[in-house]
C-alpha cells in the first residue's frame, strides 16, 4: 500500500487540500417521498465514517447520491471539488449485495481487473502494449495481496465464501487507488470473525492510503473502535459527529422524535432500544 503522501501526490488543483466530499443542504425525493433533507456533511481525507440508521432511512441513497447515480431535489454534493457525477475515477464503490451466484464462473482476479480497465472500450493489443498489460497485472496482484485474497483469487468467484467474495470486491474498489471508498453494508453478509477481519482491513487501508471511507453499516459494533465519525440517519434527517456525540439517548431521541435509549454493554458495545420500526440496528448479539 502506498503511503499517504504519494497516494495524494498525483492529483493537483481542486480538492487537494479541501474535503473529499462536501454535501450541503442536500435532499433526495424518490417516488414522491422525501427520503432525507437538510443533509450537511464534509468528509476529510483519511477519515473513517459509518452511515447508520434503520432500514429505509436512506443510507444507500446517500451513497448513491455521492456517486452521482441519483438526482438531488435540493442542495449540492461535490466530490474533490467537482459536482458529483457518475463514473468519478477517484471513488471506489462496493454496492450492497448478497453474493455472486454459484454459477458465475469468472476468476476473482478477473473481477478485480475489471475495476482497473473494465470501463475501457476496445481490447488491448496483445504484443504492442505488453508493458502496460504487465503493469496492470502487477497492480491487480498487489491489491489482491493487500486484502489477503491471493490464495483464492484464481478460483471462480461464485464458488467462494461471502467473506472471500467481499475481500475481492474491496480489492476491485481499491485497485485504482481511489481517494474515497464507498462501501454499502460490506459486513452484513459476514460472520462475526470475518466482520472484524474485514473491518480491520478497511481501517488499515484508510490509514495506509489516506483514502476516506464511507461505510454503511447495519451493526456499528464491529467497527465502533475504528470509527472517526458517524452519520446517523432517521426520520428523514441526519446527525453527524463522533460516536460518543451521536450515539446517545439524547441525540437519537431528537432524531427519531420519540424516546430512544442507548445502552452500553460491559464489553464496550452499544445497543439502541425503543425506537419505532426497527429493533435490531445495534444488536451486537445477532449472530
Amino acid at each position: 500500500m502506498k503511503p499517504v503522501n504519494s497516494a495524494a501526490g498525483g492529483a493537483t488543483g481542486n480538492g487537494e487540500t479541501g474535503p473529499v466530499v462536501q454535501v450541503a443542504g442536500a435532499a433526495v425525493r424518490l417516488g414522491g417521498r422525501t427520503i432525507w433533507e437538510h443533509v450537511d456533511l464534509e468528509v476529510w481525507p483519511g477519515e473513517f465514517i459509518a452511515i447508520l440508521g434503520p432500514n429505509g432511512s436512506g443510507k444507500s441513497t446517500l451513497i448513491k447520491a455521492i456517486l452521482g447515480l441519483l438526482p438531488l431535489q435540493a442542495g449540492s454534493i461535490s466530490v474533490l471539488g467537482q459536482p458529483a457525477r457518475r463514473g468519478h475515477p477517484e471513488i471506489g464503490y462496493v454496492p450492497q449485495r448478497r453474493h455472486f451466484e454459484a454459477d458465475v464462473r469468472v476468476r476473482g482476479r478477473d473481477v478485480v481487473r475489471l475495476g482497473l480497465d473494465g470501463v475501457r472500450w476496445g481490447l488491448p493489443l496483445p504484443f504492442v502494449q505488453r508493458g502496460r498489460a504487465r503493469s496492470f497485472e502487477k497492480q491487480v496482484q498487489d491489491v489482491i495481496e493487500s486484502v489477503g485474497a491471493a490464495a483464492y483469487a484464481d478460483r471462480p468467484i461464485g464458488e467462494l465464501s461471502g467473506g472471500e467474495q467481499q475481500r475481492l470486491l474491496i480489492a476491485q474498489a481499491l485497485v485504482t487507488h481511489p481517494r474515497l471508498l464507498a462501501l454499502d453494508e460490506p459486513l452484513d453478509s459476514l460472520d462475526i470473525q470475518n466482520q472484524q477481519a474485514v473491518a480491520g482491513l478497511i481501517r488499515g487501508i484508510a490509514r495506509d492510503t489516506g483514502a476516506a471511507v464511507l461505510l454503511v453499516a447495519h451493526d456499528v459494533n464491529p467497527i465502533l473502535s475504528a470509527l472517526d465519525r458517524v452519520v446517523y440517519m432517521a426520520g428523514g434527517r441526519v446527525a453527524v459527529g463522533t460516536p460518543e456525540e451521536v450515539v446517545t439517548s439524547e441525540t437519537l431521541s431528537k432524531l427519531y422524535g420519540s424516546p430512544v435509549e442507548v445502552l452500553h454493554a460491559s464489553d464496550g458495545s452499544v445497543v439502541v432500544v425503543g425506537h419505532p420500526g426497527e429493533e435490531e440496528v445495534f444488536h451486537h448479539d445477532r449472530h
Binding site: R86, V106, G118, V119, L169
Partner: protein, 317 residues
C-alpha cells in the same frame, strides 16, 4: 487408410528419400481414389464457410449470453424469429431478413419490458403466451404465402446447412465482421456490465445501452445461425459450447476462445458425418455438442467427488 500406409505404398517414401509434402500428396491421391472429398462440392464449401462463421459468432456471443443468464432471451429471439422467417415469405423477402427484423423487435420488447433475466412466474407465463402466438402466426404465414415464395418449414425449424446460397454466405460473412468488430470495441465494458452491473453503472459503463445492444447482436446471430441449425436446435451452437467452455476454464478470454473452438469443432464434425451418411447435419451437430457437454459435466462431478474423498481421507488420517 492411414498416412503410414500411404507412405509405405510409395517406394521413395519407404526409403525415406522423399519430402513430407510428397508423401502427403501421395496420401491424398490415394484417399481421393477411395473417398469423395466433401470440399469438391460447391454446396459443401458454402456449408463449411457459413458453418464456421456462424460457429465463431455463436461461440463468442454464447459466452456472454450464458454469463448474463440470458439463455431464455436467446430462446425467445429464436421462437419469435420463426414468425419473422415465414412472415418474410409473404412478401418474397429472404427469410434471414425476416428473422433479423423479428429478432430486433423481440430484443427491444425483452429489454424494455425487463424480461431478459430473473423472470418472475408472471413473466414466464406472459412470455410463454407470446411465443406460442408467434409460432402460431408463423404457421399461418406458411399457409398464406404465395406458392412461388413458400419456405420449407423444416429448413426454418432444423436448418438446411447444405442449401446455403452464395448470397447468404456473403450475408453471414458481413454479419460476422460487424459482430466481431462491435464486440472487440465493447468486450470489456460488456464483461463488466455482465459480471457486476451495479459497480459497472457506478463507474460510468452504460449498462442499459449495452444490454440492448447485446440483445440486438444476439438477434443477428440467431438470424444467421438458423441457416445452420434452425430455430429449434439453435442452442447446440449458442449455449452448449459456451456452457462447456465455462466448465473447462474460469478465465474469460480463454473461455470465449474455447467456446468458439468447440462450436467450430461440432459444426465440422456434424458436416463431415452428415456428408458421408444419409442423416441430417443438425442432428449430428447437436449430438456432438450434447455429448461433449455431458462428458465435461460428468468429469467435473467425478473430480469434485474424488477431491472430497481425498479431503475426507486426509482429515481422517
Amino acid at each position: 487408410m492411414t498416412a503410414i500406409d500411404c507412405c509405405a505404398d510409395g517406394a521413395q517414401c519407404a526409403s525415406g528419400s522423399c519430402s513430407i509434402l510428397q508423401c502427403a500428396q501421395n496420401c491424398s491421391a490415394q484417399i481421393q481414389s477411395h473417398f469423395i472429398s466433401p470440399f469438391g462440392y460447391h454446396f459443401m464449401q458454402n456449408a463449411f464457410l457459413a458453418g464456421t462463421l456462424v460457429a465463431i459468432m455463436a461461440g463468442v456471443l454464447g459466452y456472454f449470453m450464458v454469463l448474463r443468464s440470458q439463455s431464455f432471451a436467446g430462446h425467445s429471439l429464436a421462437n419469435v424469429g420463426f414468425a419473422g422467417a415465414t412472415g418474410a415469405s409473404l412478401f418474397g423477402a429472404p427469410p434471414i431478413l425476416g428473422l433479423f427484423a423479428a429478432g430486433v423487435a423481440a430484443a427491444c420488447g425483452i429489454h424494455y419490458l425487463g424480461l431478459g433475466t430473473r423472470q418472475t412466474r408472471q413473466n414466464d407465463i406472459a412470455v410463454g403466451a407470446i411465443f406460442t402466438a408467434a409460432i402460431a402466426l408463423g404457421f399461418l404465414f406458411i399457409r398464406l404465402a404465395p406458392k412461388e415464395f413458400t419456405v420449407n418449414i423444416y429448413d426454418v425449424l432444423f436448418g438446411n446447412v447444405l442449401g446455403i446460397s452464395d448470397a447468404n454466405v456473403l450475408i453471414t460473412a458481413i454479419s460476422a465482421a460487424v459482430l466481431l468488430s462491435l464486440l472487440v470495441v465493447s468486450a470489456r465494458p460488456l464483461l463488466f456490465a455482465s459480471v457486476d452491473p451495479d459497480v459497472a453503472a457506478a463507474r460510468g459503463v452504460p449498462v442499459r445501452a449495452l444490454g440492448l445492444g447485446f440483445l440486438i447482436l444476439l438477434a443477428l446471430t440467431v438470424a444467421v445461425a438458423v441457416q445452420v441449425v434452425g430455430v429449434l436446435l439453435i442452442f447446440s451452437l449458442l449455449v452448449t459450447p459456451a456452457a462447456t467452455a465455462r466448465y473447462l476454464t474460469p478465465h474469460p478470454a480463454l473461455a470465449v476462445g474455447m467456446a468458439v473452438l468447440l462450436a467450430i469443432l461440432f459444426t465440422w464434425c456434424g458436416l463431415a458425418v452428415g456428408f458421408y451418411t444419409p442423416y441430417p447435419v443438425g442432428f449430428f451437430i447437436t449430438s456432438f455438442a450434447f455429448g461433449t457437454y455431458l462428458l465435461v459435466r460428468g468429469a467435473k462431478l467425478l473430480m469434485a467427488r474424488s477431491q472430497r474423498t481425498r479431503l475426507a481421507n486426509s482429515v481422517l488420517a
